[in-house]
Amino acid sequence: MPSVKLVDIVKRFGSITAINRLSMEIPDEEYICILGPTGSGKTTLLKLIAGLTIPDEGEIYIDDKPAIAVPAEERGAVYVPQQYALFPHLTVLENVAFGPLAHGVNEQEALRTAREMLEMMKLGHRADSKIDELSGGMQQRAALARGLATKAKLLLLDEPLGALDARLRVELRYKLRKLAKDSGVTTIHVTHDQAEATAISDRIAVLREGRIRQYATPFHIYMKPQSLFVAHFVGGANFLQGVVVKRQPEESVLELHQALRISVRDTTHLPAEEVVVVIREDRVNIAESAEQVEPDRYNIIEGEIQSSRFLGDFVNHQIRLANGDILTSKTPTQRLEKPMPVGKGVVVYFKPSDTMVYSYPPIGLSRELRVL
């Protein structure tokens, strides 16, 4: 039920600033994902809210009350760390029941809740196993079940699905969201997996080097990323360098490498400005020849297939354009007979309205996009 508010939080470890003047508000009952690469400060942020570490500067409010002076166990939160910290000498059921027992629930009720949570985590059949008989993924689910069983109103989950196999991970992420929503808790879920964050959160906070780069709904982050880094980290995209050559009332014309010109739906950048144009992979279309494309609605560029990769629901192609730039496309498998062969000549086409234009970053494009 609680809301959480962070104001100007700074946390340093020696000479490293792990969290750098970070402010954010998490409303009651929301499901928030903290998303960022390794070393971006995600776990530190979670520990600050949990009360396991104290900020050097700033204030934390839980339900509008200052929380920094409140000990971890009195914050009404349950923190499920990446390292599960289960009791090896207890059974799975006893481990999970420990959560509610420690919160003063009577034994019968604790066991009932524990069984319920184990069922949900698909561990009902292992209730009587010892912890070390479980695989890593099962242990992680047991730890998660123990956290959920406390019925705390604020769930702080550090990579709760990180140790699971890819397929199980997808299945359980939806369950996790549903459980949190059904029970009306506030959830803060740390992950490095952008697909997971997009699929289940109400809002995503994209973290990099201890700062929030964007905090918005998944829709907003995908459709209107505030920076090149966010566009790259969430959703995947193509990045092409160019210069504005003409600004018109609704569109501009950019010149890419080797004087290749494209139209973009952007008028905020001035002629001669160096820019980066971003095109989401799923908005890059491929056709065998230009005759199949309406010329007045699309940018049409000739190219050659460089690689094709079948991903199941989608096929990725890399296309080398006539000017040497490389675009990646993501086509629904439904739309393709079969992947295009490497070396095939094609045209790629995309709408001016499916582009996003950013100023060329002062630190350089590759550093701006760097994930580690």
């Binding site: 690469p37 390794t38 695989s135 890593g136 993924g137 099962m138 196999d165 890819a166 397929r167 199980l168 997808v170 299945e171 490095h192 997996d193 952008q194 697909a195 997009t198 699929a199 289940i200 709904t217 998944p218 829709f219 995908y222 980290f233 969430v234 959703g235 989401r280 992979e281 799923d282 908005r283 279309n285 690689s307 990769r309 079948f310 991903l311 199941g312 629901d313 989608f314 990725n316 993501k330 086509t331 629904p332 498998t333 439904q334 079969k338 992947p339 994930v371 580690l372």
Partner: protein, 366 residues
């Protein structure tokens, strides 16, 4: 003779059978991925080939030679595993040259080889770094370079990207794939990640309970899986109980509640109780409340997924199905609680016999 031939491989640990009568041929220069749920035996398989685990029965042939009695250090097989296992006190150069030096290569030829390999994994400038000064992805590339230094044409990869962030992982898999293709290596790659396996492999092998249950090209296995487990393991699918009610040209008609769909499956007889499986992205959704060849229902959930929107639809009879609509097909004006018709093409309706142990048990991921 293929590059690698595995014949009747069986391995037991106490009362647990980790591998049971596994047979597999891997052609020269082929990239084969082995996937399966945790505990299925995939790691044991690769360890048997590497020589870390001795099988109870069966043989492994490499280049037509049985290697059962060849000790690990003489197998000359490159092996990379999930836990990054570089020597932390040695520089990158020393890590990569370790094998050749132990094998008695002179410092000059070892140096040339290591430089070539580090350039190959795009770490040419980092020979003098210590492993911990590199990112996780770069460390794993050093491990690949070290494995290749053995000079083997066979590379075994055991969850090599498992410890890395999602984004780094996706980039690295393509880099490694390209490198092994350029070098003409034969690769056996164990992973739990079906997308990783499909995106880079010539052939995918599915293991469950210590047995190979199915193998094929990624497209074959994804679009036309023979086993219901494969259909679920390689990607999401909607599974519905149905009954074959009619033969149809080139296939059959199945009934789900009072709704009917066409399938291209010709192996079914009328009256058979079956499970049908349809992937969420192969279904289309439209407002409406009638029609042939469709599932009728009500939208009970809508999630934005980035490239697609995921609709949760409750169909007649109370079952829930998921439909994924790619946004590059345009946005839909469908709202919560709308009545909708869900359609699909007959070749996306996969039909399976009712599993003996029940559907849930059959689909279990571990």
């Amino acid at each position: 003779m293929p590059h690698v031939r595995i014949v009747g491989l069986t391995k037991r640990f106490g009362s647990i059978t980790a591998l049971e009568d596994v047979n597999l041929d891997i052609r020269e220069k082929e990239y084969v991925s082995v996937i399966g749920p945790s505990g299925c035996g995939k790691s044991t398989l690769i360890k048997c080939i590497a020589g870390i685990v001795a099988p109870d029965e069966g043989k492994v042939f490499v280049d037509a030679h049985a290697i059962g009695n060849v000790p690990i250090q003489h197998r000359r097989i490159g092996y990379v595993f999930q836990e990054i296992a570089l020597f932390p006190h040695m520089k990158v150069f020393e890590n990569v040259s370790y094998g050749p030096r132990v094998q008695g290569q002179g410092p000059q030829s070892a140096k040339a080889l290591v430089e070539e390999l580090l350039n190959l994994v795009k770490l040419g400038g980092r020979a003098d770094s210590f492993p911990l000064e590199l990112s996780g992805g770069a460390q794993q590339k050093v491990a690949v370079a070290r494995a290749l230094a053995s000079g083997s044409a066979l590379l075994l990869l055991d969850e090599p990207f498992g410890a890395l962030d999602a984004k780094v992982r996706a980039d690295l898999r393509y880099e490694v794939r390209k490198m092994t293709a350029d070098l003409g290596l034969t690769v056996l790659h164990v992973t739990h990640d079906q997308e990783e396996a499909m995106s880079i492999s010539d052939r995918v092998v599915i293991i469950k309970g210590g047995r190979i249950i199915e193998a094929g090209t990624p497209i074959e296995l994804y679009l036309r899986p023979k086993m219901i487990f494969t259909a679920n393991f390689l990607g999401e699918a909607n599974f519905l109980e149905a009954k074959v009610v009619q033969e149809a040209p080139g296939g059959c008609i199945v009934q789900i509640g009072d709704m009917r769909l066409q399938s291209l499956d010709r192996t079914r007889r009328v009256g058979e109780e079956v499970i049908i499986a349809i992937r969420p992205e192969f279904m289309s959704i439209a407002e409406g409340s009638g029609g042939e060849n469709c599932l009728m229902g009500r939208v009970v959930g809508i999630r934005f997924m980035g490239y697609a929107v995921r609709y949760e639809v409750e169909i007649a009879g109370g079952r829930t199905i998921y439909v994924e609509h790619p946004l590059c097909f345009g946005e839909l004006e469908i709202e919560l609680l709308d009545e909708v018709a869900v359609t699909t093409s007959p070749h996306h309706v996969m039909v399976y016999s009712m599993p003996e142990l029940g559907l849930e048990k059959e689909l279990q991921l571990e």
